[in-house]
Amino acid sequence: MIVVSRESGKKVGSEPRVGVFVCHCGTNIAGFTDIKSLVEYASKQPGVVFATDYTYMCSEPGQELIRKSIKKHKLNRVIVASCSPRMHEPTFRKVAESADLNPFLVEMANIREQCSWVHMHQPEEATIKAKALIGSAIAKARLLEPLESAEFTVEPSALIIGGGIAGIQTSLDLAEKGFKVYLVEKTPSIGGHMAQLDKTFPTLDCSACILTPKMVDVGRHPNITLLTYSEVKAVEGFIGNFKVTVTKKARYIDEEACTGCGICAQKCPIKVPNEFEVGLGTRKAVYIPFPQAVPTTHTIDKEHCLFLTKGVCKICEKMCPAHAIRFDQKDEDIEIKVGTIIIATGYDLYDAKKKPQYGYGVYKNVITGLEFERLINAAGPTGGKLLRPSDSKPPKSVAFLQCVGSRDANANRYCSRVCCMASLKHAHQIKEKHPDAEVSIFYMDLRCFGKGYEEFYERTQNEGVRAVRARVAEIYEDPETKNLQLRFEDTLQAEIMTAEFDMVVLATAIEPALDTSAIQKLLKLSLSADGFFLEAHPKLRPVETTVAGVYLCGVAQGPKDIPDAVAQASGAASQAAIPLITGKVSIEPITAFVDEDLCSGCGICEDLCPYSAIEIKELDDGKRKSEINEALCKGCGVCGAACPSGAISMKGFTDKQIRAQIDALTASEVA
């Protein structure tokens, strides 16, 4: 009888004493397998000294049952036959630990996701398969060895990538908790898409009025270092100890000296389309994107500046009262150390030109929702007057087309979630300014799911906004009037119709930001099928990623509105603060292990390792050996599979353990 405690050493000195705990998971497992025969089968397997079952093994009584049984039967291996290890392995490891058993002597047999759920119509076969899965877990468990987790200290600071509303909120939360925050934003100002919006649904708050004070808070917060016009270039290290290289792009203006007075922009002779105005307005080659930008430091756009392209002008340098212009500035790499990283990279919009049947880019009076925001915005290019682009006259009738690029097998299958409310808000804004204007929304479903949204929908209906359930097939521009004729089937009336409007607004889909894949590669994150960053668990770990120490918030994780983005940003800040507060992290010990006697130092593993966790070291005797950095190793097993001399094995997944598992699975005795 030897119970292995975490402190008592690595070797298990006696015969394995295996306990098997079969979970019913309510009826999830018990409804489709014969639990009694599973327990009976398990108890007959070699090494098993105790087997039992319980309705919910993960519940407190279930956990207590395991704890008591470990003590009572002196178990030194525990099998829990229940759900996927992704679901509850951490739970049952903690149970073992609390009963003084090394947590890595717990093995899960997944008889739910991989058995009962997929064989609901074959209960007999499901029972046979569950036996095989339990048998194979037992075979592996007999060979398990205790493992020790390593502990590291944590750098009490965080990196936030992206300065939209999500990045702003999460930065402020962490800074208020007392941690150092580095906020990196690729454009010259923070604010993101929210800064471009006029009003926010359903309360009709002025977007700038609620956003800009937060931007100012970020700019002034003593704990926040704001790195605008900057991009993350490289990330090394692991949770608690990330080393990040940030490239600060040359602004050609001294940030310390610039007062943001704007004289340079007044004097600059070059006008270019303003990205902030979605191309509807212009800016100068030296500029701030919008008057409330944070920081107010101006930026010289090297693509258009006369001096930087043709070597002439320099009028800004002559006129700047602060002498802040620095044409010799170069891009600069800054290295920072952070404990945790939060991704808040936001989104880009679907290119409406990909739906040529709507004529965006061809017909002047077909615009996107974001363009509408600028046209209705008092600070926008028309001073808030809604004028249609072809003749600068107020439109008497406007059509909104929903789901342009969303819920569409030829574009994005997902729902972009904000466009229904955005278009309803736009419709309301038109009615507010021009009560007689005819406004129609062409929709598939109006999804007004949030707090106060349904009420807002009703309000716009009462204002006379018409909702037409139709997917518009084609838009045709009358060459004379530049009016737009929409051809569609009203699916509630089952009638094919044509209707003419002065202007059409396309509710274009939210898509993953263009630099998503660059960030994904930098941090080795996963993406979900829709192309957004994948959270660690869709319900229970919504702001974590599969990479420890890296968190998500805002639209980077999936389309969402401002309230959801802000809530998630605060959630991410809380999660990211946990290691910063505790000051230490333990690293999962399931890593690669090199048998130095077998290693020939060929270096194949070093080249293959996706986490740069392997280095070939030269020993004193001149021999080369592979060395694993356990903090960086994720235990993916690539090196082990590739090692030509079989020198690398995975702790917790040794060849011997896996073979025992396969042998048990393929044994015929189960049936």
């Binding site: 739906k355 040529p356 049947q357 084609e474 045709y476 521009e477 060459p479 004729q485 051809r487 044509t498």
Partner: protein
């Protein structure tokens, strides 16, 4: 000289031999040789045959493809036979299907190995020959001619199989028209069906003519001089259908119809007669507008001898 097997289909030789003649003349101008497909049959029709009996549709289509394969040439064509042969060819990329078809073809001493490509004559004009080369041969720029371009269905769809251009914003025909000096006039519902295909014309002529009427009304509103088609069946539907509509007193202003290679032929200086333009039910009034120097303008009941002589 690049050579293509010329699949004529049924409608072209039976009703609009002018399309064949125009195509042969134009392709010759661009050093493309057209080979006769000896023994070719009906494609068979894409909608009706394929829907009722997929295997026999594949089989007969494969037989036609095997004729071209034996000639060691890709197929080109001028009708909705494109829909059948191009899609049959695509389906027969599947080895299992091809084996099954070949088992039967073997009984008549034929075999199809899948090496032939099927290219619409519009693809040849826009992609293989190219607009620059077309422009370089123009002797009669079609200045002032307002053309209503009709793409039809089978040339573009199903888009997953066709692939050669966007099903929502195709532009090959418009570019060809513009390169000839004419104007491609935008009009409502440009990508709508002519009404004929899928057995609609044969099964429900009134329904088919409703389609046609809507199309020609939209084109008339846009002020077109003629309707340009890339498909002999659409061509037939517009040319014959407008007369049928007139007889039903639903349509008084038939718009003349012209096939894409006929329009190219006009710009290359070929005579309207040699292009078979007087073989249409609706007389080519746009010719006057173009002010071309013409030969005999009298409508001839005999095939266009002068063109035949030149081929």
């Amino acid at each position: 000289m690049k050579k293509f097997a010329f699949f004529l289909g049924c409608i072209t030789p039976l009703r609009y031999p002018g399309i064949e003649i125009a195509t042969r003349q134009v392709m010759k101008q661009f050093d493309i040789g057209l080979l006769d497909m000896d023994g070719a049959s009906c494609c068979p029709a894409p909608g009706v045959f394929g829907s009722f009996d997929l295997w026999n549709w594949l089989l007969i289509g494969a037989r036609n493809l095997s004729i071209a394969e034996k000639l060691d040439a890709d197929i080109t064509l001028v009708c909705n036979g494109y829909a059948t042969l191009q899609e049959v060819n695509h389906l027969l990329e599947d080895e299992e299907k091809r084996d099954r078809v070949n088992d039967v073809l073997g009984k008549i001493g034929r075999r199809y190995s899948g090496s032939t490509k099927v290219r619409h004559c519009v693809e040849l004009l826009a992609e293989d020959i190219g607009l620059e080369k077309i422009k370089s041969k123009i002797t009669n720029p079609l200045k002032g001619l307002k053309v209503g371009v009709h793409y039809g269905c089978h040339y573009l769809k199903p888009s997953k199989v066709r692939l050669h251009e966007s099903p929502e914003a195709p532009d090959h025909l418009d570019k060809i028209v513009e390169s000839l000096g004419a104007e491609s006039v935008p009009y409502r519902e440009k990508l709508m069906c002519c009404g004929a295909g899928g057995g609609v014309r044969a099964g429900n002529i009134d329904e088919a003519l409703d389609f046609t009427l809507e199309k020609v009304q939209n084109m008339k509103d846009a002020g077109v001089d003629c309707i340009l088609t890339p498909c002999a069946f659409c061509h037939y539907q517009f040319d014959t259908g407008q007369i049928e509509l007139k007889k039903k007193e639903k349509w008084n202003t038939p718009i003349p119809v012209i096939f894409v290679t006929q329009l190219v032929g006009l710009a290359l200086g070929m005579s309207p007669k040699s292009l078979g333009l007087y073989e249409h039910h609706i007389s080519p009034k746009y010719i006057d507008k173009l002010g071309l120097k013409l030969g005999k303008t009298k409508k001839s009941s005999s095939p266009t001898d002068e063109a035949v002589a030149s081929c």
